[in-house]
Symmetry: C2
Subunit: 220 residues, 2 copies
């Protein structure tokens, strides 16, 4: 068992070194990067579509899409009007720093202000692999249930901002917002949480403001 | 890279051997075992609660609960009136055959007809690890979206039965059932699919009938 653990530690150490090199490359080009993580179907791609539509006149945006097999999400994002690079993990359960490194090779970083990375839909594994992005964002959703912070603590603990999507479904689902928020606060005190609906667009302006405020560091 | 792949293959090979030993142990004791897999929040535990309530007078049931950290699900299942063993993976993203082997040590197999294993909520990794159960069941859900078969093919390809939960939310969500079903049929031709709602209980009788029909092989 100790042998298995040491292999994993070596892999993570190598990953962190490449993540640091990705970060240096982004910083040198003046690109601010966000890593979106979530369960399958929480609404990462929908949120990216809305974010691109709202902010593309203000910032030059590109998107890196991580998926097991298809390019469905990259096609959706391209239709929203920005450059998208697809990473197919070939069944792999998360993005790692090498995959982002390869994606960066396909982008003209000097022509980008904001890079959004959509990780593989998975509430466990992506939290273990740094990519070199500046901040990570968890997209939770109402139908997943209010117990998810308690059950997936490593993901909830490790992110810099959270979005709770699909609030339009609150009338039809037994979701205790206060129980969810207490879990979030216990694991990640002070983490910003944006209740939103990509369907009704409720809450999205506050989210767009947060992204814009993050960009201030790059555009200063 | 080839070195990494060979390590993974060795791990999977060892896992398969232990899975085969788990299966032999279950068969010797006359236990039929189902492995439930799903995204976080699709409704595995709710379906197990309903299944236990409906079938516990007919079969002697036990449940093995896989979770990253908590025993919340085991407590829910015990409240439904059957024995539950909790496996905490300590952050691990799937159950493996060794974990089930250890759980079997804590059960009186001679006193069980049906063993339900609830895997970690993850639509990627659990599909790579056999446990020794007789059949695997995917619990999909309407809010996850109709594109999930296309985006998570290894999971959809590898299961023996599927449940599509939360059909009560169909009026509020843009979910094309025919698009979903075409994806299922392309990846896993002939796989049984039960559209259900654990909330309204619609479709559950057909699911209970399927479980009962599976048990015939054990009880014959």
């Amino acid at each position: 068992m100790s042998r298995t653990i040491s292999v994993i530690e070596n892999i993570l150490d190598a990953n962190d070194q490449i993540a640091a090199s990705n970060r240096a490359r982004l910083d040198a080009a003046g690109v601010y990067a966000l890593n979106f993580m979530a369960s399958p179907g929480a609404g990462k791609t929908s949120l990216i579509e809305k974010t691109v539509a709202a902010l593309k006149s203000k910032f030059r945006i590109a998107v890196v899409e991580g998926d097991l097999a298809t390019s469905l999400d990259a096609e959706r994002v391209e239709a929203a009007g920005v450059q998208a690079v697809q990473i197919n993990t070939g069944g792999g359960c998360h993005l790692d720093a090498v995959m982002l490194q390869q994606a960066l090779d396909h982008l003209d970083l000097e022509a980008i202000d904001l890079l959004i990375v959509e990780n593989v839909g998975n509430l466990v594994c992506p939290s273990n692999f740094k990519l070199g992005t500046h901040k990570s964002v968890l997209v939770a959703s109402v139908p997943e249930g209010d117990d998810k912070p308690y059950k997936y603590p490593s993901m909830y603990r490790g992110v810099d901002a959270m979005v709770l999507n699909k609030t339009d479904l609150l009338p039809y689902i037994n979701f205790r917002l206060d129980y969810f928020q207490r879990g979030v606060e216990a694991l990640n005190p002070g983490c910003v949480l944006f209740p939103i609906s990509c369907y009704t667009e409720e809450g999205l302006p506050e989210w767009f403001d947060w992204v814009s405020s993050q960009m201030a560091s790059v555009l200063a």
